[in-house]
Symmetry: C2
Subunit: 480 residues, 2 copies
Amino acid sequence: MAKLEWRLTVPDGSSEELVPESGWIHRAWMGLFQLILALKLKFLRFSEKIWKVGVDDPRRVFHCLKVGVALTLVSLFYYMRPLYNGVGQTAMWAVMTVVVVFEYTVGATLSKGLNRGMATFLAGFLGIAVHSLATQSGEKAEPIIRGISLFLLASMATFSRFIPTVKSRFDYGVSIFILTFSLVSISGHRVDKLVELAHERLATIAIGGSICMMISILICPIWAGEDLHSLVTRNMEKLANSLDGCVVEYFNDGRSETGDEEPCQKLQGYKCVLNSKATEESLANFARWEPAHGHFGFRHPWKQYLKIGTATRFCAYCVEALNGTTNSDIKAPDFIKKHLSDACKRLSSHSCNVLKELATTTKTMRKSANINLLVGEMNAAVEDLQNALKSLPHQLVMLLPPSTENEKKQPVPMANIPLMDILPLVTITSLLIEIATRIEGVVDEVDELAGLANFKPTDDQKPKQNQTIGQEAMEALQQV
Amino acid sequence: MAKLEWRLTVPDGSSEELVPESGWIHRAWMGLFQLILALKLKFLRFSEKIWKVGVDDPRRVFHCLKVGVALTLVSLFYYMRPLYNGVGQTAMWAVMTVVVVFEYTVGATLSKGLNRGMATFLAGFLGIAVHSLATQSGEKAEPIIRGISLFLLASMATFSRFIPTVKSRFDYGVSIFILTFSLVSISGHRVDKLVELAHERLATIAIGGSICMMISILICPIWAGEDLHSLVTRNMEKLANSLDGCVVEYFNDGRSETGDEEPCQKLQGYKCVLNSKATEESLANFARWEPAHGHFGFRHPWKQYLKIGTATRFCAYCVEALNGTTNSDIKAPDFIKKHLSDACKRLSSHSCNVLKELATTTKTMRKSANINLLVGEMNAAVEDLQNALKSLPHQLVMLLPPSTENEKKQPVPMANIPLMDILPLVTITSLLIEIATRIEGVVDEVDELAGLANFKPTDDQKPKQNQTIGQEAMEALQQV
C-alpha cells in the first residue's frame, strides 16, 4: 500500500496512463482551457467586488462622476481658450489643484483647498522675502543663504507635522508650504519675475480650487458632518441591537425571539462600534471645515460626537465580553436561569430602549421628553436584577422538590449547586449591570451635545409609542 | 443682600471703587501686562508640547533633518548647474517629488516613490496614445475625444480608489495617474513634443525619488516593519502588565505588590492595545514595500502581525471589562475573597507569563522552548480556579463558625451570603478564565508567525530564569 501511494505522487504519472493517446496538444488545450476558466472566475469575482463597492454606497459613483466633470471642465477651459497661450505651463496648476484637492466629502475638499491656498500664499510671501534678501547679499553669500533658509524651513515645517493639532488639520498645508517655498527658492533664481509668477499661480489655484468647491458643494454634496452624525447614531442603534439580541439568544437557548432572518449579522453589530474610532476622528476633522448645512450650524459641536463615540465604544467593550460569555459551554441549571431570565431580559431591553432613544435624540436633534423616564426604568431594572440575585439562595431553597419537605423540615444547603455551574450566568448579569452604568455615560454625553447644539424640545404631539413607553415607565417607577 | 449682589454685577463697578485714582492708563497697563503673561504662558505650554514631541521619539528630529538635507541637496543640484538652464521648469518636478515622496518610514517613502514613478510612466504612455488618436481624427472630433477620454479615465480611476486593496496600496499612484494623464491631455495640445517632455519628467522624478530613497534608507533608516514588530511586541507586554496589575490590585485591596511608582500608568496599558488597530494596519501596509533589513527577509509575513494584533485586542476587550469590574463598590466577604485569591492571582500571573513569553518569542524571533509548558501551566491554573469555584459551597459550610456545630449538626444554608455580594468576584474569575482562552488564540497566531517566518529554535543554553519556570511547570503538571 505504501508503495502504491508513493507512485501516485509522481507528477502526471497516473493521468497519462488513463488517457494514453492524448499527447501534448490535448494537454496544452486542457491547460489553456483551465487557465481561461480560472481567469474568468477571477474576473467575475473582481467585478462582483467592484459592483459591491458601488452598491454599498451609490454616492461613490456620483463622486467619481463629479471628479470627471470637474477635471474635464478645467482642462477644456484651458484647451478652448487660445487666449491662455501666453500663460503656458501655468494652466497645469489648475489641473493639478483639481486632481489633488477634490476629495470625497465637502469638508475634506474645503480643508485641502483652503490649506493649499493659504500655504501657497504664505510660502510665496516668505520665499520672495528670502529671495530678495539673498540677491542683495552678494554672489558668494547667495547660495549659502538660500541653502540654509531652505534647510531650516523644510526641517521645521516637517517637524511641525508631528504636532497632533497640525497633523490633523494642516498636514497638507505644511507639505504645500515646503513645496512652494522651495520652488520659489529655485525658480526665483532662474525666472526673475517672481511676483508675477506668484500672482499667476495663486490665480490658477483659485480657479481650480473654486471649481472643486463649487461642484463639491452644489452637486449632490457629501457632507462629512452628516456622515459623522449618522455614523454615531447608527453605532448606538447597532449596539442596542447587539446587546438585546445577545441576551435574548442566551436565555432562549439560541432561538431568536423576533424570528429575524439575519440575527447573526445583527448580533455582530457591536464589532463596527469597536472599530469606528479612526473613521469618526477623520470625519470630525473634516466636518469642522464645512459651512452650515441642513440642521447643522456653522460651529456645530463636532467634537462632542467624538465623545459620544468614545462612550459608546466603552459600552461596546463590555458587550464584546458579554458576547464571549454567552458562548460558554457551561449550562446553568434551568431553574436558576429561569429565575434570572426575566430580570436580565428586562434590563437588557430597557438598556436597549435607552440606547435607541439616545440614537433618536441625536438623529432628530430634538431633546427627548422620555429619556429620564427610560433611564429611571433602566435603573429600576438594575435594582430588580440585584434583588433577584439577592433572593437567589432563598429562592433555591424554596424551589427544592417538595418530597424533602417532610423529612427534616430544614432547608437543604446549596452544596449541590456549585458556583462553577452558574459562572457564565452570574457573569452575564454582572456585565449587564456594568453596561447599564456605562450607558449612563452615553446619556451624559448626548445630553451635553443637546446643550451645546441647542437641541429643540420635542413637539407637544409626541408619537404614540413613546407615550405608552412613558406611561409604562411611570408605572414601573411607582412600583419600585 | 440681594440688592448688593445685583450691584456687584455692574461691569467694573466694584473695582473702580476700590482703586479710585488709577485711571485708564493704569487699567490699560494692567490689561497689557495680563495679555503678555497669558501669551507667555501659552507659548511656554506650546514649547513644552513641541519639546515632548521630539523627546518622545528622537527619530522624528532626525527625520526632519533628513528632509532638510534631501531638499537642499536637490535644489542646490539644480541651482549649481547652469547646464540645466535649458530644462527650465522641469527642475521643479525633482523638488516636488522630494517634498511629496519623503515620508517618515522607509516603507512609506518607497511606496510613494514607486507609486509616483509607475503611475507617471503608465499615464504618460496612455496619454500619448490617446493624444495621437485625437490628433489624427480631425479638428471637430479632437476636443470631444480628449474630453470624453479624460472624463472616463478620471471617473474610473477615482472609483478604483474605493476598492480596499487599491486604496491601501496604490492610492497615491492613482492620484498621480489622473494628474499625469490630464497634464498630457492639455500640454499635448500646446507643447507638441510630448515624448521629450515625458522623458524629461520621468528623469527628474527618478532623480528626486532616488535621492529620497537613498537618504531614507542610508541615513538612520526608520523601518515601518521594525516599528510594527515592536508595536505588536510592546502591546503584548502592556496587556500582560495591565492584566496582572489589575488582578493583584483587586485582591490586595489597592496595594501594589511590586511597589512600583507608576502602577496606574502600567494598569492603563491595555488602552493602547485597544486603539492601535489603525496604526498597525498602516505600518503593515508600508512594511510590505520595504526591502530585506535586519532580521526581516524580503517576504516577511507582515500580515500575520495584524492577526496577532487582532488576537491581542480580543484579549484587551476582556481586560477592559475586567478593569471595569475590579472598580466595583461591592465588597465580597473576606473569606470567600481569600479562598479564590490565590487561584486567581496564580491564573493571572500564569497568563501574564504566557503573554510575556509570546512577546519575547516575537521580539527575538526564536521559537520558544517553554511556551507549551507555560500554556500547560496556565490551563492547570484555570482548572485549579474552576476547582476552587466548585468547592466553594462546601468550603462555605466548613468555614462557618464552630459555635453552630453542636446545635443542629446540620450544615447551615447559604442564605446568609447572597450571590449579590460576590458578584464582582465571580465575574472577575469568569473573565480571567475567558482571557486565558483568548490568550490561546494569541499563542496560535504567534505560532503561525513562527512557522511563516521560519523562527529558529532557541539556543540550547536557555536563560536560567526560563529553566526554573519550566521546572515549576513540570511540577504543576504532575500535581494536576
